[in-house]
Symmetry: C2
Subunit: 256 residues, 2 copies
């Protein structure tokens, strides 16, 4: 009863992106990998892997999701440690799960095949282990946290228009938001600052480009902010995030 064991320790990650949906709006999607070993061979599962000796938990999450999906997220945060006795049929496994946000252009780099695929968040297949519960909790956390913190820019590039930012909120919260009130709230919060540049190439009045004010400490993780800070500070790859600012090309990004 009191024997000391070292259960297998694994790290998994729930990764979110936004992609163009059927009705013209954006929709949440997440990548799954097909299991090639028992148990649950052939089932879809969250990307992850075992924890190795010389990496801490967040590094393990980054490493495994890069290895399985080629993704480098803009936001990474610990979600929960799952350790129920019956979550794996054979051996005892404790999974420390992270959740992550990637920008749309970064997400395009995924090579989809028979074993790696993006799924719409609320149309998932049967998942291995307790991964369905894990995804539900990650979704709840994303939707809850979006409303009181500044994680929305994890889906976007370095700069963005308020319409793009609003579309993130509308897609995640699954409800339309009033553009005027959204602008008032965002500008009043001090979380975003205008860059002075405008985005041309639209079919209408050119909107201003904003960026997040990094000097405003989000305080959304309290004293632990430094544990994930190295990941949240990773800027988007400049070569893949160019909103056209003075050209005539149409706007890219989540609203594409």
């Amino acid at each position: 009863m009191s024997e000391v064991v070292s259960p297998n320790l694994a790290v998994s990650t729930v990764i979110f992106r936004l992609r163009p949906g059927a009705d013209g709006t954006s929709e949440l999607a997440l990548p799954l990998v097909r299991r090639i070993r028992a148990p649950y061979e052939g089932r879809w599962a969250l990307p992850g892997g075992p924890l190795t000796a010389h990496e801490d938990l967040a590094q393990a999450a980054s490493r495994t999701l890069l290895a399985t999906t080629s993704l480098q997220p803009r936001y990474l945060e610990q979600l929960y440690a799952f350790g129920q006795l019956d979550r794996s049929p054979d051996e005892r496994v404790v999974s420390i799960v992270y959740w992550a946000l990637v920008a749309s252009d970064e997400a395009e780099r995924t090579i989809e095949n028979d074993n790696v695929r993006w799924f719409v968040a609320d149309e998932l297949p049967e998942l291995a282990f307790d991964h369905k519960l894990i995804v539900e909790y990650a979704l709840w956390r994303l939707r809850t946290k979006l409303e009181y913190s500044q994680i929305a820019h994890g889906f976007l590039g370095e700069t963005f228009t308020l319409a793009q930012l609003r579309e993130v909120y509308e897609a995640v919260l699954q409800k339309p938001l009033d553009p005027g009130n959204f602008r008032r709230t965002m500008e009043g919060s001090g979380a975003v600052v205008a860059t002075g540049e405008r985005l041309s190439g639209t079919r209408h009045r050119p909107p201003q480009l904003y960026k997040y004010d990094t000097s405003v400490n989000p305080a959304d993780q309290g004293p632990l902010s430094h544990l994930t800070a190295p990941c949240t500070l990773v800027p988007a790859n400049p070569s893949t995030t160019s909103f056209r600012t003075t050209t005539h090309a149409s706007a890219s990004g989540v609203s594409a």
Copy 2:
């Protein structure tokens, strides 16, 4: 670099209670145990222990804190998994940390000695490992969560007056609250219901006794509520929670 290991897996708990402070108000306190082994021998540390084979994570937290401090909390929730490489000087240890609330009368059962002692939350001694950071994060989580959920009753007995409930908020948030506004907010939230009974034995108008409305789902953990529910539903021991309802004795509880 990629060798698979099974790091030692430990479970620790940050336990909070309220106790009468010097200035008449209540103050937060938490129990620590003295380490009797290297590393950090002699230092104070959070109660905890290794995870055993046939218990899940929350059970391990309950078991270890009962073994080390004799406490059975009224609220128990997972806090965070700490796995930094340098958090223990010798071997790699991943700690899954829980946090808990105990009622004052339950807390009185602790047998304090040279190796177990309650400390005021913001006057802690030097702690072992990264336990100072862990306590800081638990404190932040407690203060943050108190404002949007219904965890305050974890410090109280089955029934309580609104003044007692308000004192919990004032002690945790460290600021005075307007009694009238506090009453309006609490009654408006529907989280508490009047029992009809009153508390006599005070030096003034007898206040009404309230209890928490358990039918109102707090939704403060989203889809995971069932993982900790068995603990949060543990009622206080009836023999130790008798607020005097029709006697002349003075009120017990956090305001004693």
